[in-house]
């Protein structure tokens, strides 16, 4: 059997020369769109640092942080365990009378404001008072604010190393004059009066991206709404 050549249906070379080839046109368009998308991604990411867009300070490009392992009441938690979610790190201590409970409360609210997306945010509280805050105590304290929160402690050396690597300082505060027989700061007490002391520490809050790299720093006070807005950006990053 011989194939027939449908002569009349074949496009003459003269007519084909000036017509765009659909496959080439589509490929060019797709390539341009892909390049534009990549360019847009670059520009969009870089532009996200605009002070008007975010309330915290964006770290561009995200900054690797040293590996660490600390202890929770449920066992060891390493920096590798924090990958896969956006992680918010806050350093404080369970006897902290003011800034720590306020901050953790705001973080709980921020997470709630995110709705279901909040499940992608992990809040980690790291104690800077390892002498009094056992891993169990740190975990119970953090969970008191939100059952999803993680509370960590560890050896004084491990805590000092982790805190320093995130730019966090802490030091036992000088004893204060106690004129009314109680705690002037209104904080909880651990055992007798001799055991009571305050710890000065950075109130900085840090956010790590899903790869465990430092991405955002809230150096000053931020409201729950502001943190939620910034976290929304990190979740979409």
């Amino acid at each position: 059997m011989t194939d027939s050549i449908a002569g009349p249906r074949e496009t003459p070379p003269s007519a084909r020369r000036g017509r765009p080839r659909p496959a080439l046109l589509w490929a060019s368009t797709a390539l341009l769109v892909a390049l534009a998308a990549a360019g847009g991604l670059v520009v969009g990411r870089a532009g996200a640092g605009d002070a008007g867009a975010l309330h915290g300070s964006l770290i561009e490009p995200p900054m690797p942080v040293p590996e660490f392992t600390l202890a929770s009441g449920d066992g060891p938690v390493s920096s590798a365990d924090l990958r896969g979610t956006v992680t918010v790190l806050f350093f404080g201590y369970t006897f902290c009378p003011d800034i720590c409970p306020f901050t953790l409360q705001r973080l709980r609210q921020a997470r709630e404001l995110l709705g279901p997306a909040g499940d992608g945010v992990r809040v980690v509280f790291v104690s800077v008072d390892p002498e009094r805050d056992t891993p169990e105590r740190a975990t119970a304290y953090a969970r008191g604010f939100d059952p999803s929160f993680t509370g960590l402690s560890g050896s004084p050396q491990a805590i000092a190393d982790v805190a320093s690597s995130f730019g966090i300082f802490f030091a036992r505060a000088a004893p204060q004059e106690d004129t009314d027989g109680g705690n002037a700061a209104g904080g909880d007490r651990a055992g007798g009066d001799d055991d009571f002391y305050l710890v000065d520490h950075s109130a900085t809050i840090l956010a790590l991206d899903r790869d465990g790299r430092l991405r955002l720093i809230w150096g000053g006070p931020a409201t729950a709404e502001e943190m939620a807005a910034d976290l929304r950006f990190l979740l979409s990053d």
């Binding site: 532009g47 002070a51 300082f169 030091a171």
Partner: protein
């Protein structure tokens, strides 16, 4: 030949510009930045007046850290003299950006506040601008100066120190931006970096966008 419609041409032009923008930015480098190296360590020191000086106190300031000890008699291998020259040059920085200088002692056993005060006076340190400060003990000094800042120092049998002259410039966010480790520190180079960081810190709006793009695209200054 089929002609493209105006909207198709416009769309192609927009796509081309967006696609080419990062490449053009990298090629022409309209803005360059000093790279962000790492987070500077958190610290709590005692200064020459016996007050606590913490990394939080320095947030919002460009901070130049130098590492020395209070009883060095030779300008601490150029560290203290370079910091003195930088202090003098601060007046020339446009816009008077907030800058702090901190000489961190790695000899807490001998550097009581009185010793640091004498060192600060001898160096011509201006209160509020340049502090001499010391970690709480030798362990804290080793961890902060030796490990966190990576400065080599060693006490000799005769009690004197051998050490590398190192200066570290940290931005207002607490990010390490430049480390001066090779040879004698050059105050003019340090002031140049401070000038660059001050301009970057002040940038807002479109320029902020450009600076972040430069960080993202690794358009670093020389």
């Amino acid at each position: 030949m089929t002609r493209l419609r105006p909207w198709q041409i416009a769309l192609a032009a927009v796509l081309l510009v967006v696609a080419a923008a990062p490449a053009a930015f990298v090629a022409f480098r309209p803005v360059t930045v000093i790279p962000r190296l790492s987070v500077a360590p958190g610290l709590a020191l005692t200064d020459e007046d016996g007050r606590r000086l913490t990394s939080d106190d320095l947030k919002g300031h460009m901070t130049l850290y130098g590492f020395a000890h209070g009883t060095c008699a030779d300008g601490c291998r150029g560290v203290v003299s370079a910091m003195a020259a930088v202090q003098e040059g601060l007046a020339e920085l446009p816009g008077a950006p907030p800058v702090r200088l901190v000489t961190v002692s790695f000899d807490p056993a001998n550097d009581a506040p009185a010793t640091l005060q004498a060192a600060a006076r001898a160096a011509g340190a201006r209160p509020g601008t340049w502090s001499f400060a010391v970690p709480t003990d030798t362990t804290a000094a080793r961890r902060l100066v030796g490990e966190a800042f990576g400065v080599w120092y060693e006490r000799q049998a005769d009690g004197a120190f051998r050490y590398d002259p190192v200066l570290v410039l940290v931005d207002g966010l607490g990010i390490r931006r430049v480390e001066y480790r090779l040879g004698a520190p050059d105050p003019q180079r340090i002031l140049g970096h401070m000038r660059e960081l001050a301009v970057e810190a002040r940038a807002g709006g479109a320029m902020r966008f450009a600076y972040e793009a430069a960080h993202f695209l690794s358009c670093y200054s020389n």
